[in-house]
Symmetry: C2
Subunit: 500 residues, 2 copies
């Protein structure tokens, strides 16, 4: 038993070390790598991912985990070991369904597809990307055959990002959400404020200053994290004490810069909060799903940093930066502005309400692609039609339509839904915090997030992957994924802001 335990902890530590290396390769690729470095990087990525996969599915590792899973052995294990073994068993069973060559091929194809997607997007011509996209979808279908979860094929893709999530569950939530969101948007459109929207201007220097102040407020430790620039903001861990966020100040939309950094800082706080000793270098030391991870970023971005109490504290602090180019703005106008609802073409620039429709659109398309109900060649037209149906606007070109996101070029099918799942979870956490009086307006308007951060640590961060997200949210907030709570939150907030 002890030899087996020793061995499985050794392998887990190796996987953790390799995971950090893989994180660095990805971070560097998106921040500093010279353009021509891509070929070598593709080899490096594919090599490390395949090697990790081979470690995971090695017979020796499997034998030890199986041995520790035998009832008479298992019952003698410590609670931590029991959890580690249960988790590993499930992960290995899944990983062993996938041949190593397939992992490598997928990694390599993604790197190439990312390049053709970039070119296609730059030139706004879907045709440049379609061949690689087709290949990726074929690989993903093959992946579904390997994993072979019950129900829809797409379940096998979903499960990678959101363990236990199914098409059936999602469709139920999304169907409801979609119709209710469209109604909410229609109602907002009747508001007297709807057409009073202003464009806000904040110069890059002030954007940076504002972001610095917010990051200090959120208390992101400087010696354990860093912020760089990339086209699309993201967060990744290179080590337990080395979390990398990126942002982008170049856009014309200053709110994008400010809310991106808050969003990523939410992810980073979660990553940094998981480094506790008990689970370090084990399979438990991770988030249970992308949806839960996303709940942490959305919570800070939308529930905290777009709220009135937050700006009661924060507006006076950054007022001079805002007023430089927007002289006559007051706090109420500012709050309406940052919470402005308006159908738009680009997902990453969408407001909190319409954002969800962007995701539901992608979910429906992905499902169709995997089910072979949609042909690749139809995609640009279909995309535009769906945009018109759901949001009432239509992209003028592929760049602002089907080519806007990098996810598919990455092979990340089944990923998009986690953005909405994250928002739903965030609203459930928000409700719980209000109920427990943790989210007291007094504290937030004093710029004090200590209680919130402690609560998040005690109720989310510290559990790592001990449970699935659904189990964790149920335990913490009393219910599983519930879009009703999210809709209540949105309705409350926006009928109040728009006075409708």
């Amino acid at each position: 038993m002890n030899d087996s335990l020793k061995y499985i902890y050794k392998v887990q530590k190796e996987l953790s070390i390799l995971g950090g290396i893989s994180g660095l390769l990805a971070w560097d690729q998106l921040t500093y790598m010279p353009k021509m470095g891509i070929r070598d990087r593709s080899n490096q990525n594919a090599y490390i991912l395949r090697y990790m996969h081979e470690k995971m599915i090695s017979d020796k590792f499997w034998v030890h985990v199986k041995c520790l899973s035998k009832p008479n052995v298992f019952e003698k294990l410590s609670i931590i070991d029991k959890n580690v073994i249960k988790r590993l068993y499930k992960d290995i069973v899944k990983a062993r369904k996938i041949p190593s060559e397939f992992v490598e091929e997928l990694a390599r194809t993604s790197t190439i597809a990312y390049q053709s997607w970039e070119e296609a997007r730059r030139k706004s011509r879907f045709g440049i990307f379609s061949k690689d996209l087709k290949k990726l979808i074929e690989l993903k279908k093959q992946y579904c055959i390997y994993i072979d979860l019950p129900g829809s094929d797409y379940n096998s893709l979903l499960d990678d990002f959101e363990e236990g999530m199914t098409v059936k569950k999602l469709q139920k939530q999304f169907f409801f959400l979609k119709s209710r969101l469209i109604k909410l948007i229609d109602r907002i459109k009747t508001s007297k404020y709807y057409n009073q929207n202003k464009k806000i201007k904040i110069d890059i220097y002030s954007q940076k200053k504002i972001c610095d102040i917010i990051i200090n407020l959120m208390n992101l430790p400087k010696n354990r994290s860093r912020i760089d620039m990339s086209t699309h903001p993201f967060t990744t861990s290179v080590g337990y004490d080395d979390v990398r966020l990126t942002t982008n100040f170049e856009r014309k939309n200053p709110l994008f810069s400010i809310y991106s950094i808050i969003h990523e800082a939410g992810h980073a706080l979660y990553e940094l909060g998981m480094s506790q000793k008990r689970y370090k270098y084990t399979v438990i030391s991770d988030s249970p799903s992308l949806g839960l991870h996303e709940s942490q970023s959305r919570f800070w971005e939308n529930m905290i940093a777009k709220s009135k109490p937050f700006w009661k504290y924060f507006f006076p602090i950054i007022e001079n930066h805002i007023r430089k180019k927007n002289k006559d703005i007051d706090i109420n106008a500012w709050i309406r502005l940052i919470n402005q609802v308006r159908p738009s073409l680009i997902r990453v620039e969408a407001d909190e309400v319409t954002y969800n429709l962007h995701i539901i659109l992608r979910f429906e398309i992905e499902l169709g692609l995997i089910k072979d109900e949609i042909q690749i060649s139809e995609l640009p037209v279909l995309w535009n039609e769906k945009m018109e149906n759901m949001l009432g606007i239509k992209p003028k070109n592929d760049r602002d339509g089907v080519l806007q996101d990098m996810h598919w070029s990455n092979g990340s099918f089944g990923y998009f839904p986690t953005y909405v799942i994250g928002s739903i979870y965030a609203s459930q956490i928000f409700k719980k915090l209000l109920f427990e009086n943790i989210l007291s307006i007094d504290k937030i308007k004093d710029g004090d997030f200590k209680n919130i951060k402690n609560w998040l640590y005690e109720n989310i961060y510290k559990f790592g992957r001990l449970m699935t997200s659904e189990e964790l949210i149920k335990k913490t907030c009393g219910q599983t994924l519930n879009s009703n709570i999210y809709l209540d939150y949105l309705n409350d907030k926006y009928t109040n802001i728009y006075e409708v």
Copy 2:
């Protein structure tokens, strides 16, 4: 035969991929890594280095290489394959002398020692570093026992950086060099210009502008390289098309910034020049030694960018940046200034002449440490005594004395001599270029380096590791390592500049 070839090329490619990853880990550690990331980075470094070592010494790899080395098989190989096999055979024999655990222990100890060195240097207290240094020296002695080259133990350390170099050869060159350099310095001190030295001031902005212009002039491809900041400038390859240089503009000494970037660009041109297809992903695709690598940086730094023809072209271009804070300087004064000889405490800031004495001092100390003729505790005092004997000046504290360089904390014993070897090789290459009329003053004063770069490619870069450095220099310049040529170069140059 074909299976063996296929296998050994596969392993070489893997080693090359892993080498790039290891390069990225090192680059990131010295540029962007958050401070607390060091523990994870230490694990990551040690893991990759050990894994590479295990690949290198694996029985299967060795069996295939041995099989291809058998005379009846070997003679049927292509010329490239023959070279690859010869090279691999030698490398594997050496690597198989070192246990994997030792590689990992050395990597781990170095990372920790680097930290204690940093602290010791910051606080200028050698005692903080001495324990880790002792451990490293013990490991290095053990390493010499493993490698066990004939002659001095130190030969086994030298050989890692400068294949085939021995204490005997070096002592012969250095003995001669040391006495002649001290004489040259004494002669320079008699010059009427010796005490006319000026301090030059160039603001950071102008330093950056000047560096940009020089880098453009050297034609470093932007899509295959990048420049960042680090405490100590260095160059490393992350891939064949991904070479990273660093520099530092923070110092009070603007010449340091300018000449650092030229130095590193010399290394980078060599690295980028080795990416030719024939040897890609093989053991040949590397420089034969650090000394030869250093010859490429020293050549650009000292022979080109400190020469009169270079400044005839370049001075008018950057004159406005120089004159901003140094109004009355002309080209002759400028050339004397950048070639100013003056004993100083810090190696990396030393001039071309006294620099060599800094290295000879370190070589003598390292030799004594490995031979057990010097005790660790004596080091600070011994260092200062040697400085006084060779350069006539004495450090006031450990920071400016024994603690100034990071090399020992890295475990890099036997590394320092390659700096002087590089300068000697550079002078031999310089002589050859003058002789062949490639280094025509007309071209350089037109800012045209094409001929030089072509020559370096055809006579140095393209050979990779096909020969040892000594073999390559002999083939290219007609003689092996020859400090006479270097001394002639220094005497010519400095008696001319100082009119002595």
